[in-house]
């Protein structure tokens, strides 16, 4: 190579400015993690401020064949923003402006690094809200939400991110800037926005988002019901839905989870219950007033020992605070957790929960459950000590067993946390070969050089074809990462 060893880094620097680039080894260590359990080092971190700068970085990486991994807030739970094979991390932390609010058409234009809750706070005084509300909404970015197609407790009636995104501005793998979708709902032609939602940074970098906002609902009622067991609570969930009432949220927390949550939130959760349901009704006042007592009654009929209805906004927030910070609260009962994200048909909840429990017991670890019961989106949190490699291995084994149970029950391996690197090799559990081949072909067409977030989302032929052999793949990844680091050193 005719260029000076550091010229790649220097060229990056000219794009994003001195203050927008890190390449010191100690600084890089801070970009090797996200909310999941994997880790890998980048060779540089770029913090662009504009879409042009993003395009510049992407184009340079494309030309030089250097891997590039987009990163929002790094709250992801499947390793999506970890630079698995080294390369450049592109952080959107400095692109967080609200560019326009259009209350007439009920839309907002935002930069990708805007934090989900900040969007909601921005439009709340105008009487609007942004519906998707992942439990991480206080920190995660809209760009990350789009990439993971995130949902939240209100997914049950509100839908996931893709249902609230109208138009996207993207930088494609070669650095070209394009706009897809349209400000009008349901434009003709293929749903490209739908494809990018959930693509986890593997086919384009999102630089601008036109989101849909809706009027705040008139009346909200939140209640908490305590049950002896998860089975009883699951039956109550089914009974509520069978009655024709669709709560905007139905969240379940089991006994181990409750004690951790209560220690943090002091919301007055009944810590000795076997399981607790958090239900929320949102509609016109008369509808809520009509439905709320019926829900209370159904819970009681299904064995609820206690049903508490929040009397004011403060009580309501306290109830939600416990749920929203539940994962984090696990730090109080175990050093680390490995969270799974399987989806199952609601009716199979009790039996799958039993298999979850068994899977953890088999490897000698504890498990806590906090999840979106309404749509059958499980979040078993396997507790382990991340200082102990053997425990980590056992946690991963239990996780795999749990996903298998979900697929066997007719469900899927991810509801909202995405596939990333964590579940990439489990895709074969879920999709037939031909389907995966079609996915791969599409991605290859979008990113022929495989520079965008490589080896995430789709099994890439690296020993994945025959099944979920994560261990083997990890070794190959290691090799790749070393090779890439060598490339990095050469620059």
């Amino acid at each position: 190579m005719s260029e000076q060893p550091s010229s790649f880094i220097e060229r990056l620097r000219t794009i994003v400015g001195d203050d927008g680039l890190f390449s010191e080894p100690q600084q890089l260590r801070l970009y090797m993690y996200d909310g999941s359990i994997d880790r890998a080092l980048p060779i540089a971190v770029a913090l662009p401020r504009t879409a042009e700068q993003v395009a510049g970085v992407v184009r340079l990486c494309h030309e030089e064949g250097v891997f590039l991994t987009p990163r929002g807030a790094g709250t992801g739970l499947s390793g999506g923003s970890i630079p698995l094979c080294g390369g450049v991390v592109l952080s959107t932390a400095r692109m967080k402006a609200v560019l326009a609010v259009d209350t007439e058409n009920q839309t907002v234009t935002v930069q990708p690094g805007l934090v989900n809750l900040d969007l909601t706070k921005h439009v709340a005084p105008l009487g609007f809200q942004y519906v998707p509300d992942p439990s991480s909404q206080g920190a995660c970015t809209i760009g990350g939400n789009v990439a993971e197609n995130s949902g939240g407790p209100h997914t049950l009636t509100g839908g996931v991110t893709t249902n609230h995104v109208l138009e996207l501005e993207l930088v494609l793998a070669d650095g070209e800037r394009v706009r897809i979708g349209s400000p009008a709902p349901d434009p003709p032609g293929p749903d490209f926005v739908g494809v990018v939602c959930g693509s986890e940074g593997t086919i384009a970098v999102v630089t601008q988002i036109l989101c849909r906002i809706v009027r705040k609902t008139e009346c909200v009622r939140t209640m908490l019901a305590a049950f002896d067991s998860c089975r009883a609570a699951s039956e109550a969930v089914s009974a509520v839905i069978a009655s024709g009432i669709v709560p905007t949220a139905m969240e379940m927390m089991d006994h181990p989870a409750l004690s951790a949550i209560e220690a943090f939130s002091h919301a007055g959760y009944p810590v000795d219950a076997g399981a607790v349901l958090l239900l929320e009704l949102e509609a016109l006042r008369e509808e809520v007033e009509d439905a709320a007592p019926r829900v209370v009654e159904i819970c009681r009929a299904n064995g609820a020992s206690e049903v508490r209805v929040a009397q004011n906004d403060e009580e309501r927030e306290a109830l939600w605070k416990g749920r929203k910070k539940a994962f984090g609260a696990m730090g109080r009962i175990g050093p680390s957790y490995y969270v799974q994200d399987g989806v199952i048909p609601r009716t199979r909840l009790p039996e799958v929960l039993e298999r979850v429990e068994q899977a953890a017991r088999k490897v000698g670890l504890r498990v806590a459950n906090v999840f979106h019961a309404g749509d059958g989106n499980l979040h078993p949190l396997i507790l382990f000590d991340d200082h102990d490699p053997d425990q980590a291995k056992r946690a991963i084994a239990a996780g795999e067993e749990i996903l298998r149970a979900c697929v066997e029950a007719g469900g899927s391996i991810t509801g909202e946390h995405g596939v990333g690197m964590e579940k990439r090799d489990y895709m074969v559990l879920q999709f037939p070969k031909a389907t995966l081949a079609a996915f791969t072909a599409f991605r290859d067409a979008c990113d022929p050089g495989h520079t965008l977030n490589p080896y995430k989302l789709l099994p890439s032929g690296l020993g994945c074809a025959e099944g979920g052999k994560r261990q083997k793949t990890m070794a190959q990844m290691q090799e790749l990462a070393e090779r890439n680091a060598a490339v990095g050193d050469a620059y």
């Binding site: 600084q27 801070l30 680390s336």
Partner: protein, 425 residues
């Protein structure tokens, strides 16, 4: 934080180090990121709570050296503790960063700007009460002198500093209200000791007088005030030994006075008083004593709210309340000041934002760029409420906000809650 001698990784032995237990509570979930003012301004993981905890953990696990890089990022932290409010895992961030700074200090890695200011303040000025009084009284004396007239010749920025100087201010505008209230007479008046403090008494003595006056109206029997320093500035700077001595002296004086409560009118001091126990190892008898003492410490707003005293007058201007970090995050006090203000105002407006204003002790001197960006954001929020009176419970915030408001040419008055309550009770 005991048995630090075993396995402290790359930390220095014999100096308090961030505890493994505290560091391991972090699950790197990232939920604290957007609550952190420095992350919001700088957008760098190194300047987030998660990043700082990670670095401290890496040093302990011998993955990173205790370096200038880490020192810089630990000192960019405002120590505002907003991350503790956001963190669901209960990471004891304040404790960790203070121990981290003690290590940085011991290793001689303290950033230069800090080193100088801190040396000047903690070593030269504060240990000498006469000098403290002289230095911090200067601005006040100047403000009352004829020299003032020359102020309009100063450049705009300096004029704003000048305008923030403590000086006699117009009384707070109030009007009589048809509310039943008034001073409280209690059968057995609880005895209380107030903290007049080091900087406060020299610089803003009228706030101490207002504090004493309002405490009496609330039915407290005041013993002579404690006029020493609580040691908060030393702890924040990583100077734990000096702080321990100050803590012992203060607790001793309080015990001897026979008072039931120790009342602070400064958020930063109050937080420090309530956390004295962290300074002492668990097997040190002072640990227990400090814990007992903490249960008797009240912020002024708590003391007033507890007494049930009710305002007889209401404020004329629309008012908003600025949460001082060391009240809202470190002491979890949010409700009391609000209920007091609602009791003396017909037009209380929520600021809807509890981000640090950037004052943070001497931070506005060591990191002026970040501090002024945070100040700008805060003033914008204040403007959006339309309030003409901003009330806060910390002298640092008070001066910082005053300067900012003057520089921006805003029509708002910034006052301490003691003055406001004294004017309306």
């Amino acid at each position: 934080m005991s048995d630090e001698t075993i396995d402290v990784g790359n930390y220095l032995e014999g100096v308090a180090a961030p505890s493994a237990e505290g560091l391991n509570t972090c699950t790197h979930c990232g939920l604290c990121l957007n609550a952190c003012p420095t992350y919001r301004v700088l957008g760098r993981e190194m300047d987030s709570p998660r990043g700082r905890v990670f670095m401290m953990r890496q040093v302990r696990e011998e993955q990173m050296p205790l370096s200038e890089l880490i020192a810089d990022h630990l000192y960019i932290c405002l120590d505002c503790r907003a991350c503790e409010t956001a963190c669901p895992s209960g990471v004891p961030y304040g404790e960790l960063v203070e121990a981290g700074r003690a290590q940085v200090e011991a290793a001689g890695l303290t950033p230069r700007r800090w080193r100088f200011l801190r040396w000047l303040l903690n070593r030269v000025i504060l240990p000498r009460p006469w000098l403290t009084r002289a230095v911090f009284a200067l601005p006040r004396l100047y403000a009352a002198s004829p020299l003032r007239a020359l102020a309009r010749l100063l450049p705009r920025r300096l004029r704003a500093w000048e305008a923030a100087l403590p000086r006699p201010r117009a009384p707070i505008a109030v009007r009589e209200a048809s509310r039943s209230g008034g001073a409280v007479q209690r059968a057995a008046a609880p005895r209380a000791m107030a903290l007049t403090g080091c900087v406060m008494e020299a610089m803003l003595p009228h706030l101490n007088r207002a504090t004493e006056s309002v405490l009496r109206k609330a039915g407290y029997d005041l013993v002579p005030a404690y006029s020493g320093c609580c040691g908060a500035l030393n702890v924040h700077a990583g100077e734990r030994e000096a702080a321990k001595g100050m803590a012992r002296a203060l607790i001793e004086a309080f015990s001897r006075s026979g008072a039931e409560y120790f009342v602070s009118n400064s958020a930063g001091c109050g937080a420090q008083l309530k956390e004295y126990a962290q300074l002492f190892e668990e097997d040190d008898p002072w640990h227990e004593r400090a814990k007992q003492f903490a249960s008797q410490v009240l912020d002024l707003s708590q003391a007033l709210a507890m007494s049930g005293v009710a305002a007889t007058r209401v404020l004329d201007a629309p008012v908003t309340y600025q949460d001082a970090c060391h009240l809202a995050h470190a002491q979890r006090i949010r409700a009391e000041p609000r209920s007091l203000l609602k009791g003396c105002s017909d037009d209380f407006r929520e600021l809807g934002d509890d981000q640090c204003c950037g004052s943070a002790g001497i931070y506005n001197l060591t990191h002026p760029e970040i501090a002024s960006e945070l100040l700008r954001q805060k003033l914008e929020r204040i403007e959006a409420t339309g309030a003409h009176l901003v009330v806060t419970g910390n002298p640092g915030c008070l001066l910082h906000l005053r300067r900012g408001a003057a520089e921006r040419g805003m029509n708002v008055d910034v006052r301490h809650i003691a003055e406001v309550m004294d004017a309306t009770l």
